[in-house]
Structure formats: structure tokens, C-alpha cells
């Protein structure tokens, strides 16, 4: 069984984000780059499938040579094989076409991705890859189990938990709560350094034309500093806050 995990290298949003000249992208030179946190959960889940059912775990990324760092991180966690896809992709649909091609070439049975990337927060690629492959998908999975070519997934919905039955092949996307990703082991890190990364090139005729375009990036307008009460006794502070919310802001 081949399990493919789609990973993306993203700017750490806890660090400073600068917008590059031209306002089309962020300044990647100054950004601190990490593996998308949801993708680490996807890698962890694939490793658990391998441990329980036996599988070859592939990690696949789409991007420039620097993105191979994210593949080496996943290899150090325990993934078996890695591939980097090079393609003229600029939006979720073109990225999904390129990744679907890689999934075909690897002949995967299960694809796991993060529910969304921490940078563009689209949450589209997993389901798009499934649609392009003609496979079923389940997004935002918090629990996953397999039995032969069948599986059961759970996802949190408003006011409850949805339980879904599916058959392989399948694409699932990982949501917080699915698992806690393991740390890379030292031998794993050493092994990952030497691992050859397969290169997959997907051309323009396969990825097609983009359907989304970023016109511009801006820093969000600062929310004006509000009315902050300090130095008051708890009772007086509470009284004044409720007075403001009730009489001035008319919110309660």
C-alpha cells in the first residue's frame, strides 16, 4: 500500500511577515519557513497507518528546491520516500492538477493532506486532488481507521461529530485533534539528509490555466486602540464596563 502525504513549506505566522515589493507575495527571504502544522499531522497519521497496516509512506511537495527542507523534515519523522513536484502552478486548482499527476505516478492508495495551509488558508487542494482523480474525499478529519479497502473517518461539525464510511482509494485532510506529530529521531535526521528525492516535472499543458489570481496583498488596517479601564477595583471596573456596553455601545 502506498500512502502519499502532501506537505507544504509555509512561512511561520508566529514570526514577522513582510509584504514584498509589488505586493503580489510576502518577502520569503526574511520569512521563517516551517512545515505547515496540519501537514505534520498528516505525516504522523501516515506513519501510524504504516505501523499498523504496513505501507510505504511518500511525502510530496510542490515548490522550489528550498521546499525540499520540508520533505527532509518528514523523512526524519519516518517517511520512506520523497518527491518534489515542479510545475507552473499558481492557484489551488493548478496546484491540485500538478499534485494529482504525482499521486498517479506513485500509484497511491491513500492521500493525506493538511486541512489547509497556514499561509494562504485556502483549504481547497485536498478535495480538489480527490475530484481530479475521481476519488472520494473527507476533509477536516479528527479520527481515522482502516479495515482492508474500507475506512471510517470522523469530523467535527457544528454541534456534533460526523461519522463517514469510505472505500479506497481516498483523500483525507487532517484537522487538529487527529494526532500529536512525533519528533524526528537523530538517526532519522541522519538518514533523511542522505535520502534521494525524486523529481517530478509537470508541464503547463497538464496544470492548465489558473482560476484564481491574487491582485494584491496589504497589511490589515490596525484596529484602533480602544477604551481600556485600568487601576479600578474589580467591582468598580465591572460596573463601568457594563455601563459602557449597555448605555454607550448598546451591545448588551
Amino acid at each position: 500500500m502506498q500512502v502519499v502525504v502532501l506537505v507544504k513549506q509555509v512561512a511561520d505566522t508566529a514570526a514577522r511577515i513582510k509584504i514584498a515589493d509589488g505586493k503580489q507575495d510576502i518577502d520569503r527571504q526574511s520569512a521563517s519557513l516551517i512545515v505547515n502544522p496540519y501537514d505534520e499531522m498528516a505525516v504522523e497519521e501516515a506513519l501510524r497507518i504504516k505501523e499498523k497496516h504496513g505501507a510505504t509512506v511518500w511525502v510530496v511537495t510542490l515548490g522550489e528546491a528550498k521546499a525540499e527542507e520540508s520533505l527532509r523534515t518528514a523523512l526524519a519523522m519516518g517517511a520512506d520516500e520523497a518527491a518534489r513536484v515542479t510545475a507552473p502552478a499558481s492557484d489551488p486548482l493548478t496546484a491540485a492538477r500538478a499534485l494529482a499527476q504525482a499521486v498517479r505516478e506513485i500509484a497511491a492508495d491513500i492521500v493525506i493532506a493538511g486541512r489547509s495551509a497556514a499561509d494562504d488558508e485556502q483549504g481547497q487542494v485536498g478535495a480538489l486532488v480527490a475530484t481530479l482523480l475521481g476519488w472520494p474525499h473527507v476533509t477536516e478529519v479528527t479520527k481515522l481507521a482502516f479495515d482492508g479497502d474500507k475506512g471510517v473517518a470522523e469530523r467535527e461539525v457544528e454541534g456534533g461529530v460526523e461519522v463517514l464510511d469510505f472505500s479506497l482509494p481516498v483523500v483525507v485532510t487532517a484537522q487538529e485533534g487527529l494526532n500529536t506529530p512525533r519528533y524526528a529521531s537523530l538517526p532519522g535526521i541522519m538518514k533523511a539528509k542522505r535520502k534521494e528525492i525524486r523529481q517530478i516535472t509537470v508541464d503547463e499543458s497538464t496544470v492548465g490555466a489558473p482560476v484564481l489570481r491574487t491582485r494584491s496583498l496589504e497589511l490589515p488596517p490596525a484596529r484602533g486602540q480602544g477604551k481600556i479601564l485600568s487601576g479600578l477595583e474589580p467591582a468598580a471596573a465591572a460596573r463601568e464596563l457594563v455601563r459602557i456596553l449597555h448605555e454607550e455601545a448598546k451591545l448588551i
Binding site: 488558508e121 469530523r155 463517514l164
Partner: protein, 321 residues
């Protein structure tokens, strides 16, 4: 026509459905379309009456064996059939667990641009466009769709719910989906007993963080929430500490909220939390640290210990009723 894909539960429309109706009316004017069509897929016929009574021009329904329980592989082609039926240039879904699962599948089937998790739509050089929040709210992007049909998921609470009017005409669509084409379907939905509004739908949210000091003190957050008819929220830190369930977590690895009023206590405002609350209309914060980042995005605030202030706040709010 603009097409909006509604959500129902046990014979009633969900709140997002009426909000989508308002969003669709606005988009109709924006694009110079001749009406709004609402689409309800599945066995919830009773909800179709409520849908037709919303401010729309046509109510479409899709029923049949393939639509007994949610399956994205059946729902997506049904949405595509409905979009074709009314020549829709724009298909709206909620940015809900349902919409986030279905919308990219619809976009994939139609090879359409999906404007995901947006609060409003606009025209930019003739293309449908929207402002999107990226990088945990640190960047705003204007994104445009280049396809002839566009799909968009609309954030809950971004539009006022549409009111009722005389029932619109109804049309039942025949959509054939082979059994073999559906390999993933909802088996059951385990409902949690809900005594409070759902976090992403609530118009008031009260949340507590690490500053509540332990799990027991959260009864103060719950009490204030119940007085205000609010949902209860929290931060990743308290979920990791096992004080609160993940279903209450607000922020990057939890839920994004956009209530009219967001009251938080003992939350310092990590970037991952702030990204999930920026859609709130008014933010009220209680924190003992005057330098806490949460105050930078707050409209009102009190510097002080949440555990000391909340009991007084509860008492003062109780006096209002």
C-alpha cells in the same frame, strides 16, 4: 440567477441559510442578475417550505436514494446540475464544516475559482473578487476569480439573515448518481447536547483562557455566557491543558468566529488566537497584563484579574435583566 446552497437539520434551515440568501441578493445586484435561486439537497423536505419562504425567486430541491445522507460525490454533481439549470455565474455556500467539504469538490467539478471563507464580494475589473485574510490575519489579500462560474464560501455572521416573504416557486431537479459513484457517505451524526448557541454561529461569544487559572473557574465564563445567550470559547492553551474541549477552541487550529460581541477573559492574545477573532465586530477583553497583545485589537477592556472581575461582571449584567 445567483445560486445559494442551503443547509438544514431535522426539518429546519440552519442560520447560515438565511444569511446566504442575503449574500445572494447582494451579489445579484452586483452582477446584474435576474434573481436568486436557493438549493436544498437531501431528504429534509420540511426545510424546503422554509427555504421557499425566504426572500428568493426560485427554490430548487434534489431528492432521491443517492441523497439520503451527505456524500460529497453525489452533492457536487447535484450543485453543478442546479447551477446549469439557472445559468448561475456564482454559487454560494457557507464557510461551515459542510460548505468547506463540498465547495472545493464543486469547484473541481466545474473547474471554477473558489473564493474561500469570505465576508463580502466585489467586482474588480469585471472579475468577482473578495478580500481574504491570510497568514493568521497578518495579511489581507484581494483575490479574484478568473473562471466563468465562481464558487464562494461565505463566513457565518457576515450577512444579516434574510426575512420571510410569500413562497417562491419550487422546482424539483432530477439528478442521477450511480450507487457505484459514491464511495464515501455520512453514516451518522453524533449530536452533542447543545444548551448554548454554536460557536461559529453565535452573535455573542464569551471566552476564557489560561488566565482563568484552572478548569473549575470556567463556570464564571459559562455563567456570563448563559446570561448573554452566548457561546463559550477558549484558547489552544486550555484545550492542551485538558480544561476545555477542542470544539470550543478559537483560532488557527480551531474555529474562526465573527460575532457582534466577543468578550474574553484571561486571554493574552497569541497570534493564532487573534487570527480567529478578527471578524468580531466589538471585542471586549479582561486581562491582568496591560501590555497583553489582546488589548491592541480590543474596543473595550479592563486591566485586572479575570477571576476577580468576572463575578462582579455577572452581577452587573444580571441587574440589567
Amino acid at each position: 440567477m445567483i445560486l445559494a446552497v442551503l443547509e438544514a437539520h431535522e426539518g429546519s434551515l440552519k442560520k447560515i441559510s438565511a444569511e446566504l440568501c442575503t449574500a445572494a441578493r447582494k451579489a445579484q445586484a452586483l452582477l446584474g442578475q435576474d434573481g436568486v435561486a436557493l438549493l436544498l439537497i437531501g431528504p429534509d423536505v420540511a426545510a424546503a417550505d422554509a427555504a421557499a419562504a425566504l426572500d428568493c425567486d426560485l427554490c430548487l430541491t434534489v431528492q432521491g436514494d443517492a441523497f439520503s445522507a451527505y456524500a460529497a460525490e453525489a452533492w457536487a454533481p447535484a450543485v453543478a446540475v442546479a447551477a446549469k439549470e439557472v445559468s448561475a455565474p456564482l454559487i454560494l455556500l457557507g464557510s461551515t464544516s459542510f460548505g468547506r467539504d463540498l465547495a472545493p469538490r464543486v469547484a473541481g467539478v466545474l473547474e471554477a475559482g473558489l473564493l474561500a471563507d469570505v465576508g463580502d464580494l466585489e467586482l474588480a475589473d469585471g472579475h468577482l473578487a473578495a478580500e481574504r485574510s491570510l497568514y493568521s490575519g497578518k495579511v489581507l489579500a484581494q483575490v479574484e476569480s478568473l473562471s466563468s462560474v465562481t464558487v464562494a464560501t461565505v463566513r457565518p455572521n457576515a450577512f444579516a439573515p434574510a426575512g420571510a416573504k410569500a413562497a417562491a416557486p419550487r422546482r424539483s431537479l432530477q439528478v442521477d448518481v450511480a450507487d457505484a459513484a459514491v464511495r464515501c457517505r455520512v453514516r451518522e451524526v453524533r449530536r452533542q447536547a447543545a444548551t448554548r448557541p454554536e460557536l461559529t454561529e453565535a452573535s455573542v461569544v464569551v471566552a476564557g483562557g489560561r488566565g482563568m487559572k484552572d478548569a473549575e473557574h470556567f463556570h464564571l465564563v459559562e455563567e456570563l455566557a448563559d446570561l448573554l445567550g452566548a457561546a463559550v470559547g477558549t484558547t489552544r492553551a486550555t484545550v492542551d491543558a485538558g480544561w476545555r474541549p477542542h470544539s470550543e477552541q478559537i483560532g488557527q487550529t480551531g474555529k474562526n468566529i465573527a460575532p457582534s460581541l466577543y468578550i474574553n477573559a484571561g486571554i493574552s492574545g497569541a497570534v493564532q488566537h487573534i487570527s480567529g477573532v478578527l471578524g468580531s465586530r466589538t471585542i471586549v477583553s479582561i486581562n491582568r497584563d496591560a501590555e497583553a497583545p489582546i488589548f491592541k485589537i480590543s474596543d473595550y477592556g479592563v486591566v485586572g484579574d479575570a477571576i476577580e472581575i468576572l463575578p462582579h461582571l455577572i452581577e452587573e449584567v444580571r441587574k440589567l435583566s
